[in-house]
Each structure stands twice: as C-alpha cells, then as structure tokens.
Amino acid sequence: MGLRKVAVVGAGMTKFVRRAQETGRELAYEAAKMALDSCELTLDDVDAVALGTAPDAFDAVHMKGEYLSDGAGAWRKPFMRSYVGGGTGVFAPIQGWYHVASGLFDVCLVVCEEKMSSCQPHPQGAFLTIFDHTTERPLGPNLLWIFALEMNRYMQTYGLQKKDIALVSVKNKRNAADHPCALLGDPNITVEDVLNSEVLAWPVQRLDVSPVTDGAVAVVLAAENVAKRITDKPVWIKGVGWSLDTAYWTNRDLYYPKYVEYAARMAYEMAGIREPRKEIHVVEPYDPFDYKELHHLEGLLLADKGEAPRLTAEGVTARTGNMPVCPSGGLLGVGNPIAAAGLMKVAEIFWQLRGEAGKRQVPGKPITGLAQAWGDLMQVGTVIILGIGG
C-alpha cells in the first residue's frame, strides 16, 4: 500500500478515578507529558496531535477537541479530534497511525481524555441523546436499556446463565487489583458478589457494569526510522480496522457484533494474520459490560459464536491462560473514562509486549496483541493490532 511502518514508542496515563479534581485539560496534560517523558521526547519533537474524546455534552463545552488541545500538546500544531462514541479510544490511535503511515508526519502524539463526572446528576443524561429523538426518546429510555436488551438477546441465543457472564467481571476486577491506576480492582471479588449486586436493568446488575470514571491516556507514535532512534523496543502497529453498522439498531440481531468482525478482518488482513487464535497472544477487547468482552471475543473471531463464556470458565482467558484477555483489568476493573479507556487498552498491549506490565505481565513473552473498542449506538468496532519484531 505504500504505507510507512509506524511504532508506538511511549505511553502514559493518569489514575482512573470517580471524580478527578483535575480538569479535562489538566488530565490530558498529565497523560501526554508522561507519554513524552517515557520515551525522552519533548513537545518540539511532536509533528501532529490526534485527540479522542467522547460527547461534548459531558462537559457542556462545544468543540471539546479544541478546548482540550492545549493540554494535549497541540499548540500551533496540526491537530485533529475524532469521535466514534466508545470506539474513540482505539479510533484515535488509528488516526494517529495514518498521519504517520501516510508520510505526512514523523511523530504523532495521541491523547484520549474523558471526564464524565462533570455531568449532573448523571452523564446518562447527556448520553441518552444517542436514541432517536422522534421514535425512541419519547418512550423515556435509559442508556442501560440497549445493553440490557443486547445482553438478554445474547444470553437467550446461547442459553447462557448470569453466572457464565459474571465470571468476566470477577476476572477483570481481580486483574485490576494489580493496576496502579485502577478504580475498581478487587482481589477478593466472587461470582456471588456479582449475582447479588443490585439489579439495574435486568439482566444488567451493578457489578456487571463499569461506572462513571475520569481519566486520560496518551501514546507516542513514530515512523520507523525515527522510532529506531528513540527506542530499541518499538512496538509496531501491524494492522488497523474499523467499521460502522446501521443506526437502525432494532433492525439488527443483537446477539452478534458483525461490525466488530468486519473491523477485525480488515486489521487481520493488514497484519497478515490468518489464524488469529494462534497468532494473537494477548487481547484487550472492550468490556464496559461483562457480556461485551464475550460478545467481542466472538466478533474478533477469537472464539466460536457462543463459546467465549466456556473459554472464560475454563481459564483460557485468565492472565495465565492460553489467551489472556484484559490482563489490565479492563474497563470493569480499571475504570471507564470512555475514550481514555480504549486508549488504555492500546497502552496495555504496548506495555505487555515490551514486558513492562509489572504485576500484570502475562507469561510467555507475547509478540502480538490486539486492542478493540466499541460504541456509538452499539454500532462501531475499532481494532488495532500491535506486534514486536519483524
């Protein structure tokens, strides 16, 4: 395709907290500065900035990208903001990738920020407006509805029980106990805790969900020749993919995320991956709800349809399993500042492949990993594949 090789060379993140004292701009600065420091670059070395952040309505600042741009290090630089709902955190680095792969820029700083707690009494109030204003919003929808409807359809299709799905929440919250930035890590949580938590919108219970969180994450991308000067451990972006399904969400069968499959196939093809189950060694699928990790593993073709719960029960997806899934702790454990949560997954794969994930490090020296995010009206899939060597 005539594209240049692009590497991730640095990463940084803030703690994920329920309410950050820092403003969104301050959070963006902290993550961006840490990412630059981690690879010993300064803002002068950055040619362009790609920023991801979710609805403007969370902060009631229209054109939030421009508002955050100073904190993201974009002063007098080419700057672009992307937004595809929850898919943003993996879409922003894809955008950074094509900035560099195209040959236009050598170094691109990618920053994702989310401050959800500003929106009172609950950020759902802003997010509710994803429903169609004429045919759906008069019914008084609740944002949880669409997830509950999708989860119920998934459970019904494969005859799953709540306990089959609760295992995901337990795994991820336990993994997050080892993450220094995690809001919701809990080394002792059990399936019973999840099953006994408050029912919000059946089948969704309190501990099936990742709650409102604030935070920011940043990564530094560099072209091949530059990356090799910056670090002797570049992590290459091997493939990217993204796809959008119809907004007529009630006309789709909600049991399977076809748009994730389309995005994954695009990324696998670019990365030259033919057998993803053998070639992907560590996975960070999007898990704002526990069933979504399962849904997404199937959409990513890493599990047969309906089989992801069995892989979880058998420990295949545990940090020490054959296919570690969300070793970071995921959104369920680390937290869910929407766009930042997606980029956290990319950063986690970066750290895992470099062997720098500390207590979270998966065994077996993984060389290829995948991060994925999802969002909008349950309709977007974004996928990025990272690898070392080659």
């Binding site: 990463a11 009494p121 045919t135 019914l139 609740n142 809001l183």
Partner: protein, 169 residues
C-alpha cells in the same frame, strides 16, 4: 514502563467533597431546547400512528420490508419502492426489566423496554417500545404481543400513541 513508575497523577474526589464544599467547583444548568423535523418517512410513520396503524416500507431489490420506515434502502442505496401497512402485533425479540431512571433514581414499578419484531415486516425488523399489562417475571423472548393504543381522540402522531404492547394468547 508502568513497572518503573511509582506515582500516577490524578486526584480522586468523593461525593462528600462536593456536598461539604471541600473543593472549589462551579455549576451550570443547560437550557437547550430543540424542535426537530420528523422528515418524510418518519413524518408518514407518525401520521399513520395517529390513525392507529403501523406502516413500513418495502425495497423490491433486497425484498426487505422495514420499520421504522425510511425513504432510502441503506443496503441498496436507492429509493424505497412502496409503503406497506403492517400489523399492530409482533414478537418480543429481546427485553429488559429496568429498575432505574435515566438519572439512576430507583423506580417503584420497573419499566419493561423491548425490541418487538412487527408482524408483516421482514424477519428481525423490530422497533423499541415498552411492554405493559404483564408480570415482569412472565416476559419471555418469543412472546407474542399486541399494541395497546391511546384513544383515537388523544393521539397526536407520536410513538407514544401506542401506550405499550401487551401479551396476546
């Protein structure tokens, strides 16, 4: 890198920090009002709801009948060919039993949102609506349900002209 870093920035606050005004903050209430045009397809859909009918559209090329209606087929990317009256009953494709309001306040009676596949449309063509006159414990995927309409005089051309869908034998 995380293995080497000991301190991550980010200061978490508690609800009480706000209620007890321990930190500085500022508040604002938006007052945004909108008036939307329903458009050609949804305009007709609403007008038919006012008459107590559900209408969809059919594409000759992909042979789909879809609801809610649109003027173009998003698959074929060409105009839809005809309007089709559908039944006011259907099958529950999926549902939830929701105990919280949008602002997370608890509800006394749960709401039962559902995707209802409308009879007369192609398989899988559902709309979002609510279920009523049913014990939440009795709701099942695959259950047949029928629209309960507002009295004709009270209908205004809105999705709420259907109060809810109730089970049929």
């Amino acid at each position: 890198m995380t293995a080497k870093i000991k301190e991550f920035p980010g200061v978490g606050l508690r609800e009480s920090d706000f209620t007890e005004r321990k930190v500085l903050f500022t508040e604002w209430k938006p007052n945004a009002q909108y008036a939307w045009d329903a458009g050609i397809a949804i305009g007709r859909y609403l007008a038919e709801l006012k008459e107590g009918r559900i209408i969809g559209v059919h594409c000759h090329r992909c042979r789909r009948t879809v609801v809610p209606p649109r003027i173009f087929c998003e698959w074929c990317f060409r105009p839809m060919d005809e309007w089709v009256y559908l039944e006011d009953h259907g099958v529950v494709n999926t549902f939830s039993i929701c105990h919280v309001r949008w602002d997370m306040e608890r509800l006394e009676e749960p709401l039962i949102p559902a995707v209802i596949e409308i009879a007369g449309a192609s398989k899988g063509m559902g709309i979002l609506h609510l279920l009523g006159e049913v014990d939440p414990k009795q709701v099942k995927i695959g259950m047949k349900v029928k629209a309960v309409w507002k009295p004709a005089a009270e209908r205004i051309g809105a999705i709420t002209d259907i109060l809810y869908f109730k089970p049929v034998e």
